[in-house]
C-alpha cells in the first residue's frame, strides 16, 4: 500500500468530520470521580460551589478509533498508541459538544513498511461555547512492506 500522506493531510487535516452532543449529569461525574479514587468534594459532591468533572473526564467521550468514513486504512485498523487529555476549563453538568478533526498524520518510515500515526482530536465545548478540553487519541497503523 502506498497512500500519499501529503494528500491525506491535505484532505483531512484540521477538517471537522464529526460533531456529537453529550449530556453530562452530576451523577455521572460523581460516579466517575469516585471510581477513579478522587477525594476532593469539588468532584464528588454536587452541592460543592465549584462542582466539576475530574480533568480526565472528557476522554470518555471518545469511543474507539473514531475516524472519517473515507479515511485511508493505512494497512489496518491500527492500534491505540496512546491518549492525551488537556483540560481547558471546568466541565460541569449540562450539554457538551464534541467536535472531531484529524489533528496530525505523520509517518515514522522510510521507503517502505511505514508506520502511520494519526492523531484524532476531539475539542469539547460546554453549552456556553467555552472550550473545556482537547482529547487526543493516537492511532498507529503498520503497513506491510510493499516489496
Amino acid at each position: 500500500m502506498d497512500v500519499d500522506i501529503a494528500a491525506a493531510r491535505e484532505k483531512f487535516l484540521n477538517r471537522e468530520f464529526d460533531t456529537k452532543a453529550f449530556e453530562v449529569t452530576a451523577q455521572n461525574i460523581v460516579e466517575y470521580a469516585r471510581a477513579c479514587g478522587e477525594l476532593a468534594p469539588k468532584y464528588t459532591d454536587p452541592k460543592h460551589p465549584d462542582f466539576q468533572a475530574p480533568p480526565t473526564f472528557a476522554s470518555s467521550f471518545i469511543a474507539g478509533r473514531h475516524l472519517p468514513q473515507d479515511y485511508p486504512r493505512f494497512g489496518g485498523l491500527g492500534m491505540d498508541a496512546g491518549k492525551g487529555i488537556a483540560p481547558k476549563a471546568p466541565l460541569r453538568p449540562g450539554s457538551v459538544t464534541g467536535k472531531s478533526h484529524i489533528h496530525d498524520i505523520y509517518t515514522k518510515t522510510g521507503r517502505s513498511g511505514r508506520m502511520v500515526f494519526t492523531v484524532i482530536r476531539m475539542e469539547l465545548f460546554d453549552q456556553d461555547g467555552t472550550k473545556v478540553a482537547d482529547a487526543d487519541t493516537r492511532v498507529v497503523s503498520r503497513e506491510k512492506p510493499t516489496q
Partner: protein, 209 residues
C-alpha cells in the same frame, strides 16, 4: 564505568523524556551509572548536541539507534555518517544480515535488544527463521521486560554463546538506569563504546527490584 545502553528521549515517537531531565535525575537520585546512550527508534539523531549537558552534569551521553529487522529490534552503537548511508534506518523490515554486515564494515556494533519479547524480539523469530549469522551480543537485561522475557533472553544467550548487555529501554525520565552495562575501561565516545563491546570486557547489570 557503567552505561545505560538503551534509552529514548522525546526524539522518539513514544519517548517522553527530555535529555536534560535524564541528567538531573541521574544526579539527584545518585544513580550508579556514569552515562547513557540515546537509541532513538528508527533513526540516528545526528543533529542533537548534548556535549554541554554532559559537561554540566559530568555524565557521558552517547548516541546510537534502535532499528527494526525481521528478527526484531536491534541496537546499533557507533553510528557514523557512512553507516547511515548504508541502509534506511526508518524501515521496519531491515534484513538483520544487512544491519550486521554494514555495522561491521563501519566500526559499529549491532545488538538485538529485548530478544525475549514477542514480535519485536529475536527469540521468537529464531524458531521460524533459524539462528542468524553474525550476532555476538544481545541485550539480556531490559528495563521494560515483562514476565520471563529476560530469562528467555539469558537462556538463548547461553545456548548460542552470546555476550549480554543491559539497558533500561527508558521512555520516561524515572526509568533511566534500571538496567545497564559495566565496562572495564573508561568510555568517552561512541567509537570507544564499540571498541569495548568488541573486546567483550563488559557485564550486564540490573537494578530492578
Amino acid at each position: 564505568m557503567i552505561l545505560d545502553l538503551h534509552t529514548h528521549s522525546i526524539k522518539s515517537d513514544d519517548g517522553r523524556a527530555k535529555v536534560s531531565n535524564y541528567c538531573q535525575w541521574i544526579r539527584t537520585k545518585t544513580l550508579p551509572i556514569d552515562g547513557f546512550v540515546l537509541t532513538e527508534h528508527r533513526q540516528f539523531d545526528a543533529e542533537s548536541d548534548y556535549s554541554d549537558l554532559a559537561a554540566e552534569y559530568g555524565i557521558t551521553i552517547l548516541k546510537g539507534s534502535e532499528v527494526e529487522t525481521e528478527y526484531g529490534h536491534v541496537l546499533v552503537f557507533n553510528v557514523t555518517p557512512p553507516l547511515v548511508r548504508e541502509f534506511d534506518f526508518a524501515r521496519i523490515d531491515l534484513p538483520l544480515a544487512t544491519v550486521i554486515q554494514a555495522a561491521e564494515a563501519h566500526g559499529a556494533v549491532a545488538v538485538p535488544c529485548h530478544p525475549g519479547r514477542k514480535r519485536v524480539g529475536m527469540c521468537a523469530h529464531i524458531e521460524n527463521l533459524g539462528v542468524p549469522d553474525g550476532v555476538r551480543i544481545v541485550e539480556i537485561y531490559n528495563g521494560g521486560s515483562r514476565g520471563d522475557e529476560d530469562e528467555q533472553a539469558r537462556a538463548m544467550a547461553e545456548r548460542q554463546g552470546y555476550l549480554g548487555i543491559g539497558g533500561s529501554d527508558s521512555h520516561i525520565v524515572s526509568h533511566v538506569g534500571r538496567c545497564a552495562t559495566r565496562f572495564e575501561t573508561p568510555i568517552h565516545s561512541e567509537a570507544e563504546l564499540a571498541q569495548a563491546l568488541r573486546t567483550g570486557a563488559f557485564t550486564a547489570v540490573t537494578y530492578r527490584t
